[in-house]
Amino acid sequence: MTRTLPEHERVDGFDDDRDSHDTADRGHDDGDHTDDTDRFPRVDEDEPRRVIRARGPADRVALIGSAAAGFALVWVVYQRLLPTSGLLGFAVCWYAAFLLVYTLVTLQRHGAVEVVDRMAAVVVRTGAALVGASLVLVIGYTIISGLDAMQYANFYTEELIYTDPADLRQGGILHAVVGTLEQLAISVAITLPLGIACAVYLTEVGGRLAKVVRTLIEAMTGLPSIVAGLFIYVAAIQLLGVQRSGFAAALALSVMMLPIITRSADVVLRLVPNGLREASLALGSSQWQTIWRVVLPTARPSLATALILGVARGAGETSPVLLTAGYSQFLNANPLVDWQTSLPLFVYQVFRLPDEAMAARAFGAATVLLLLVLLLFVIARLVARGKRGER
């Protein structure tokens, strides 16, 4: 950085003094100089503390000033002089003008190197802010649009039965909530043991085959979810004669979630310190005992986090369910027989009906789904934090 060192000579003078009183003043280094201030009148007392932070008030003024100048400039040119309009265009032009002014201001005070640094910082921050803003926009817009339907209690207690589709006081998403919860429970029951066993195999047993499996799992985490649905449709529904049902949907979700959970469990297990394993083995326990009594308990909170995040991903998947669950407007608590609806499927199917009240219901269900995912995330955070508290 191009910060200048404050008061160079003073540092030199300080050194001279030290040379002459070389041995007598060891305590001086610790800033303990109350008794020898008379001998060293120029030392420390009035030396300004160096500011280590890169940005001072002047920089802040430059930043805000540039933004204001850019705004004013664009307002005049864009709104008054040119026949242009529109909020998005204005924002983009404002940003460009701001960058330009800020570059010039920085160039006046610093060199070209500093200008590049500042520009990069501004661009990086803007990019991140854009991403954050769009996430807030997505979540906020969904929740606000969902309030229309969510304000009525029947939305949570009824199935999608109505005499007048436009009346939001009739019909709800109970059947979809039940479907989502059941399908998730079944897929957790399938993926939890399989995923962790496979992760244990990858980290603890190893071997050449494990490497192949690991590469495949990594590739499978990006498997298009609709392919998982197709696979279950072909293998379970067509070949084995499983009904289109909540169970088939859970199988499809499992195919999708298994690689995700396995992969994150694998990462977590690899973080267990080897010293623990060796200590356990050295005490004479078998490998199985080591894993069951040492490795898995050590990794338990992180494993739970991995699982919950995998479930959160599965909760929002529509396409595997679309092909395997069927769609029903009615409550079906039995996942093994007959069609069953889940929340994302409900949103998708209702969205396709050209009706405003239906759109409100879709947003309401999407909000409930979003809140479910958020809840899972908060739980995952809490579980992960609990781990840190224990240690």
């Binding site: 529109g86 661009v123 609709i226 072909v234 396409s319 679309l322 969205f351």
Partner: protein, 336 residues
């Protein structure tokens, strides 16, 4: 060692004992079970491809090579092919990558280099959350909110760059009553929504690799007087190149397979004109989602064939990405 050897009688000198690792009974069971699950997962993965291949053979037999050269997907005249669907998929994925790449790299850099240390872990989980927002939610948002806003951008792009064939739309953008509906449900809008979905994956891979850039070299760069950006350019970005490439490819793989949000936004059109701003587009996965319910056995087989092509495509892209990423990580994060 040598001293004791002198003293001990000949023949009884200490030799390293041969340690034989013989797994106990429960260990043998455990290893068998663990290996079994590994094989099961392997079989499952291979099984997906195998099942799709077997089931789609009907379609390949019926349509032959025409399946790859036919642009129409028209069951009424029995002409089904993916020559328009596959390029459509790639176009949407490329738009998504083009939109998400700059945002992903700045987000990753912000979290790993610029953000205050206190909020870093919170930001990382916000990124995770963004990846877990259901695709129907993005689809709803894209259809009801984004589409109404972004058609102005689409129109402006048409006005300014309409001379480029892929940015032109078959309508007059300067007309007083410009045809808004011509700009809706396009590959461009679908691509932007898909970008929102692949961004967190790309960004979190990049962030992970950036944050592994060696501290010593970072500090060396700063100590030599480089600015923060100079340090990023000379240490973080070169070190993270594998992560940038790999993360982008993983994002590409995800973008290729995105289904529901695309199906909610586009209106299906099987033309090969690559006009990304114009109403109408199609991707493999959205085709499957939209046509699955109304298919006869042969059409279903054709959809499976399309799914197989998508599967192979994404598997290749993802495997390459995984190799690139793991190579860039080698030695730093594995084998503790």
């Amino acid at each position: 060692m040598s001293g004791t050897e002198e003293a001990s009688p000949v023949g009884t000198a200490d030799r390293p004992r041969r340690v034989r690792v013989r797994p106990t009974g429960d260990d043998r069971v455990f290893r068998a079970v663990a290996r079994g699950t590994g094989v099961l997962v392997l079989v499952l993965t291979a099984g997906i491809g195998a099942f799709l291949a077997i089931r789609s053979s009907d379609a390949f037999a019926a349509y032959g090579w025409d399946f790859f050269t036919e642009t129409q997907w028209n069951p009424e005249v029995n002409r089904l092919g993916i020559a328009a669907v596959l390029p459509g998929t790639i176009v949407v994925a490329l738009i998504a990558i083009a939109v998400s790449f700059p945002l992903a790299i700045t987000t990753a850099l912000y979290i790993s280099e610029y953000a205050p240390p206190r909020v870093k872990s919170a930001l990382v989980s916000v990124l995770d959350l963004m990846a877990a927002v259901p695709s129907v939610v993005y689809g709803l948002w894209g259809f009801y909110f984004l589409q109404d806003e972004i058609i102005y951008l689409a129109r402006w792009l048409h006005q300014a760059f309409g001379f480029l064939p892929f940015l032109s739309v078959g309508t007059d953008p300067d007309a007083a009553n410009w045809a808004e509906s011509r700009y809706t449900s396009s590959a461009f809008i679908a691509g932007v929504v898909v970008a929102m979905m692949v961004l967190p994956i790309t960004a979190s891979i990049m962030r992970e690799v950036f944050s592994q850039a060696p501290v010593g070299e970072r500090e060396a760069a700063l100590a030599l007087g480089s600015t923060r950006w100079g340090m990023i350019r000379s240490v973080v970005l070169p070190f993270g190149r594998g992560g940038i490439v790999g993360g982008t490819m993983l994002g590409l793989g995800r973008a290729l397979g995105e289904t529901i949000a695309v199906a909610m936004i586009i209106s299906p059109a099987f033309d090969l004109d690559f006009r990304i701003l114009e109403n109408g587009a199609i991707t493999v996965s959205s085709l499957i989602a939209l046509r699955f319910g109304e298919s006869s056995a042969l059409q279903l087989s054709a959809l499976l064939a399309a799914g197989l092509v998508l599967y192979v495509f994404t598997l290749v892209v993802n495997t390459l990405a995984a190799i690139v990423v793991s190579r860039s990580r080698s030695g730093s994060a594995t084998d503790l």
